[in-house]
Amino acid sequence: MTDNDIAKLVQSALFAVAPDLEGETVGPDVPFRDQFEIDSMDFLNFVIALHKATGIEIPERDYPKLESLDKAVAYLKAKGFAQ
């Protein structure tokens, strides 16, 4: 899986939680919360959606590592998801 594929997967998890963002351009290095209208519950649901899509366990203390698209991609790769 390429970085681009992982980025797409992250975006679709985000759009599933916040369908109003569908079609928006996601800035890669800006925290989602700074770009878009999402709250803490949305973010929690986003992490749960990522877990479901990848099977990767994401402990709560790692949540800040998922705050932007680039960071989320790097995190999932570091967890061995790219294979």
């Binding site: 759009f15 599933a16 916040a18 369908p19 109003d20 569908e22 919360r33 209208e37 999402i38 709250d39 803490s40 519950m41 949305d42 973010f43 929690l44 649901n45 402990p59 709560e60 203390r61 949540y63 800040p64």
Partner: protein, 581 residues
């Protein structure tokens, strides 16, 4: 499962507390005595919340105490002493006067926890104008609905929030004369330049106890949001309850995590702690477990007032995490917004070293009414006992009368003897809805509860269909109305679904017009529509299609029955149900 009572009398007796002995304090308390703790305007010229919160401390020689430490990612903390807060809020009051804003005009804020929020709030009161804080996660629709009711002449916001939430509806706000933009930018006047041009010694308005100070919007089951009106005289309750329920003292470092758009963010984010003379920590950022523990440690927070949803999110992060932080300065933790489950109370004790003290109140009560106190044993899961000066009871509503249930353990509606100082004095332009909240001298809260044999109150549920999500009341009607604006939606019913973190989350059930087909794409489209209009805090998190929704013969959606069906609960009385639904 029965939870063990958390005893407060250790070997060294009860902890030293502002409220040392509950029964004695309740017996001796009088609001007239409590009012003597207020400064009042110099020369006996009235009472003003802004003056009580800032200027009085300067006059008393405490002007150099830090009133506010404002935190945000990517910058150093900003500090404001009581003197600076008094001066800047006077400038804001003067700036309002310069803009032609008269006393009693409404000033809305749509801001996060920025220092300017505190300055604008105090300055608005000092001008004698009426403050109404909005929740910055509201979408344009809730902002519009609330503004159309109160017709503010001034809005204080940021450029980003203005562009997202106000610019799309600006044409529908003819009454709004001025927009003040924190940080400057397009769309309005710059906050800083307004302040710089205003006099530092603008006189405080000579308001009295019965002058309108604050308008807090809340949601009911039906109809528009309600603007609960609170007077300057409410400040005696804010000061007293901050001392008794939160055990606040002048040397405390106090952190209230509530959003300023909700009543807690004003009564206990701004007024209570500043009147006490404590140092207030304000963090601009959203919830983040590690950041929060770091704030508790680094800011040496002593008293912390937060919410069940946040506590449950911290619980998710585990009991190990707080062990790597020094929380030894933290001496009191309180929670409000929705009932705190006993697991969370006990978790506080094991993971944070202190139990969490739940308390209960609502927008209409203006301040804490029922509370667990530092010196009083905690029964985990109970909201505690009524504040001194507050008479609470379990009542049975019978048309326009109430019958008080004296027998312990019986469920009924939680009622408060009317007349405490922070009680709302009306819903703006809604006299009828206001009157319906009272019967036989009691204020009826809409919450179902029971009182046990020791006088502790226990929350049971809401008497109406209002949804409590992350501690915020959400009116189903407001959400349903927005869903109905979508061309595919024929009927909409909105209910709260139990959620482990948020208490309840909003879920929508809709039936479609002929010609529309249920699909995942349509579901997302309707949810997207709702989120854009309402904002994430109010919009449904989930949606399901149903061929039809249960409704009365007059066509009203029966949310209670919808909820019973969807959650597999007992359906109760269905005698008014339309046949075939």
């Amino acid at each position: 499962m029965a939870w063990e009572v958390i005893r407060k009398r250790g070997a060294g007796g009860r902890p030293a507390a502002n409220l040392a002995d509950y029964d004695e304090a309740a017996r001796l308390f009088s609001w007239a005595e409590a009012a003597k703790q207020l400064a009042g305007l110099p020369g006996g010229q009235g009472l003003n919340i802004g003056y009580e919160a800032a200027d009085r401390h300067v006059a008393a020689g405490h002007g150099d105490v830090v009133a506010l430490r404002s935190l945000a990612r990517g910058r150093e903390p900003l500090e404001y002493t009581y003197r600076e807060l008094a001066e800047r809020s006077s400038r804001f009051a003067g700036a309002l006067a310069g803009l032609g804003v008269a006393p009693r005009e409404r000033v809305f804020t749509l801001l996060g926890r920025l220092p300017e929020l505190y300055i604008a709030a105090l300055g608005t009161w000092k001008r004698g104008a009426v403050l109404s804080p909005l929740f910055s996660a509201f979408g344009p629709a809730p902002v519009l609905a609330r503004m159309q009711i109160a017709e503010p002449t001034v809005l204080v916001t940021t450029q980003k929030l203005y562009e997202r939430k106000v610019a799309p509806i600006r044409g529908e706000l003819p009454f709004l004369r001025h927009v003040v933009i924190v940080g400057g930018g397009d769309g309005g006047l710059g906050f800083d330049s307004l302040l710089a041009a205003a006099p530092a010694d603008f006189p405080v308005a000579r308001t009295g106890t019965d002058d309108l100070a604050t308008l807090h919007f809340t949601s009911g089951t039906t109809g528009k949001p309600k603007g609960a009106m609170h007077m300057h005289g409410a400040v005696v309750a804010h000061l007293t309850t901050a001392r008794l329920a939160l055990d606040l003292r002048p040397d405390d470092v106090y952190w209230c995590t509530a959003d300023p758009g909700w009543v807690t963010g004003t009564s206990y984010g701004i007024i209570g702690p500043l009147c006490v003379g404590a140092t207030v920590i304000a963090d601009e950022e959203d919830f983040d477990a590690e950041r929060w523990y770091a704030i508790l440690q680094n800011e040496k927070v002593t008293v912390w007032y937060t919410a069940p949803t946040a506590i449950r999110m911290l619980m998710r992060a585990g009991a190990e995490l707080p062990k790597s932080y020094d929380l030894s300065r933290l001496r009191f933790i309180a929670s409000v917004g929705e009932p705190l489950n006993p697991e969370a109370v006990v978790w506080g004790q094991t993971a944070l070293g202190r139990p969490i003290h739940d308390n209960w109140w609502q927008t209409e009560t203006g301040g804490v009414m029922i509370s667990n106190f530092l010196s009083m044993d905690i029964k985990p899961g109970s909201m505690g006992r009524p504040l001194p000066g507050i008479e609470a009871a379990i009542a049975d509503r019978k048309n326009s009368h109430v019958e008080i249930i004296r027998e312990p353990g019986r469920e009924g509606e939680l009622a408060l003897k009317a007349g405490w100082p922070s009680m709302m004095r009306g819903y703006l332009h809604e006299e009828e809805r206001y009157r319906k909240c009272f019967a036989d001298g009691w204020y009826l809260t809409g919450d179902l509860a029971r009182r046990d044999e020791d006088g502790y109150f226990w929350f049971v549920g809401r008497a109406d269909d209002v949804i409590k999500s992350s501690g915020h009341l959400i009116g189903p009607f407001e959400v349903e109305s927005t869903l109905m604006e979508h061309p595919a939606v024929a009927e909409a019913g909105v209910i709260g679904i139990p959620d482990a973190v948020a208490g309840e989350v909003v879920k929508a059930y809709v039936s479609l017009h002929k010609g529309f087909t249920e699909s995942e794409v349509l579901k997302k489209e309707i949810l997207a529509h709702a989120r854009k209009k309402l904002g994430p805090a109010v919009a449904p998190r989930d949606l399901a299609f149903r061929p039809s929704l249960p409704k009365t013969r007059s066509g009203k959606i029966m949310r209670r029955l919808l909820k019973a069906r969807e959650l597999g609960l007992a359906e109760g009385d269905t005698s008014t149900l339309e046949s075939g639904s």
